[in-house]
Symmetry: C2
Subunit: 187 residues, 2 copies
C-alpha cells in the first residue's frame, strides 16, 4: 500500500473574542463564583454572536487554563459543546490527553452536562465539575440533555470527580431562557 491520500484535518475554531472576554476579567479566579461569572459572560457573548447559550472553562486552582463556548452551530459538529471545546483546548495546550490530571483541575460549565459531556468528562482528567444552570433549566428552554443517569452526581463522585452545583444558577439560566425567547435554534 503506497501512501497517496492527504491527511484530513477536523477543526473546531475557538474565536478570538473568547479570549478578549477573558481579558476583561481579573487574572485570578479565586472562587467558584468568580469562575462561573466568566463562564456565564462567555455564554452571553456567544448568544449575541449567534451561538448557543453555553460557556465552559478549565481552571487549575485560580488559574484559567482554557476558555470556550458552544460551537455546534458554527462548526456544524455535534461534539462541539462548550465543555468538550474547553477540555480539548486544555488538553491541546498541555499536549497530552490526561495532562489535566497533573494537578487539581476543574471544569466549570454554565449548565449541567448532557449525556455526551457526562461521558466525555470521565476521560478528560479533570477531578472537579462546577455547574450553573441545571439539567431542568436547559430542558425547560427546549434543550434535550439526553440519557444520563438519574444519579449522575453520584456516578461522578464514585469515580473521583467532585461536583458543585447551582453556582450563579439564576444568572446562567437566564441566558438560556433569553436565547429561547429570541427563537434561537434548539439542538
Amino acid at each position: 500500500m503506497v501512501k497517496s491520500a492527504p491527511d484530513t484535518l477536523l477543526v473546531i475554531r475557538v474565536p478570538g473574542w473568547v479570549d478578549d472576554v477573558v481579558g476583561t476579567f481579573p487574572g485570578r479566579f479565586e472562587t467558584d463564583d468568580a469562575r462561573m461569572a466568566l463562564v456565564i459572560a462567555l455564554s452571553r457573548h456567544n448568544v449575541e454572536r449567534g451561538g448557543g447559550p453555553f460557556g465552559a472553562a478549565v481552571f487549575a486552582g485560580p488559574h484559567l487554563v482554557a476558555a470556550a463556548v458552544n460551537r455546534v452551530l458554527d462548526s456544524g459538529l455535534s461534539i462541539a459543546h462548550a465543555e468538550i471545546v474547553a477540555l480539548m483546548r486544555a488538553q491541546q495546550s498541555f499536549g497530552a490527553f490526561a495532562a489535566a490530571s497533573a494537578g487539581a483541575h476543574s471544569l466549570v460549565a454554565s449548565a449541567e452536562p448532557c449525556c455526551q459531556c457526562f461521558g466525555a468528562i470521565f476521560w478528560s482528567g479533570v477531578d472537579r465539575l462546577c455547574c450553573g444552570a441545571t439539567t431542568a433549566d436547559a430542558e425547560a428552554a427546549g434543550f434535550d440533555e439526553g440519557p444520563k443517569p438519574e444519579d449522575w452526581v453520584r456516578v461522578f463522585e464514585d469515580r473521583g470527580v467532585s461536583v458543585t452545583r447551582f453556582v450563579r444558577r439564576d444568572e446562567a439560566r437566564e441566558v438560556i431562557a433569553e436565547y429561547a425567547r429570541r427563537g434561537g435554534r434548539i439542538y
Copy 2:
C-alpha cells in the same frame, strides 16, 4: 471590547493512510460484514502505527461517508475515539451537525461504545449502530468503558438508533487482545 486575540484551532488529524486502506476495498459495502471488515482493517493498521486498536466509519447504505481510527495517543485529546472522529469527519464533509439525518446513516465501530461515545451518538444524526467486539472484550484487555447504562442497547433503540452487535466479533476482539499483548498503552 476591541477584538485582538487570535482564533485558536483545535485539530484532530486523520492520517492519509486511513483513506489508502479504504482504497484497497471495493467501492461498495453491501453488508454489515463488509463494512465491519473495513473497520477492523483500520483498527489493525492503527495498532501497527502505534495507535489504539479501534476503527470506525459512517456509511450511507453501501456508501462510505467517513472512515476513522482512534487518535487519542497521537492527538493528545481524550475525545478522539474512533467513533467520535468518524462522526466529526462525516459531519464536516456534510457541513452540518445533523446532516447525517438527511438519509439513513450507520456508524460501524470495531467495538461497542464507551460512555463518551454512547452519549455522543445521540446528537450525531446516525440512526444505526453496528458493533464488533463487545464491552466485555475491551474491558478484558484492560480498557475502561466507563459508566454507561446496563441496558444501553435499549436506550439507543428507544431513541431511534437501532443496534446490531457481534459482527465479526472474534476478529475485532483479536486486534484489541493483540494490542494488549504487545503492551500497548491502555486508556
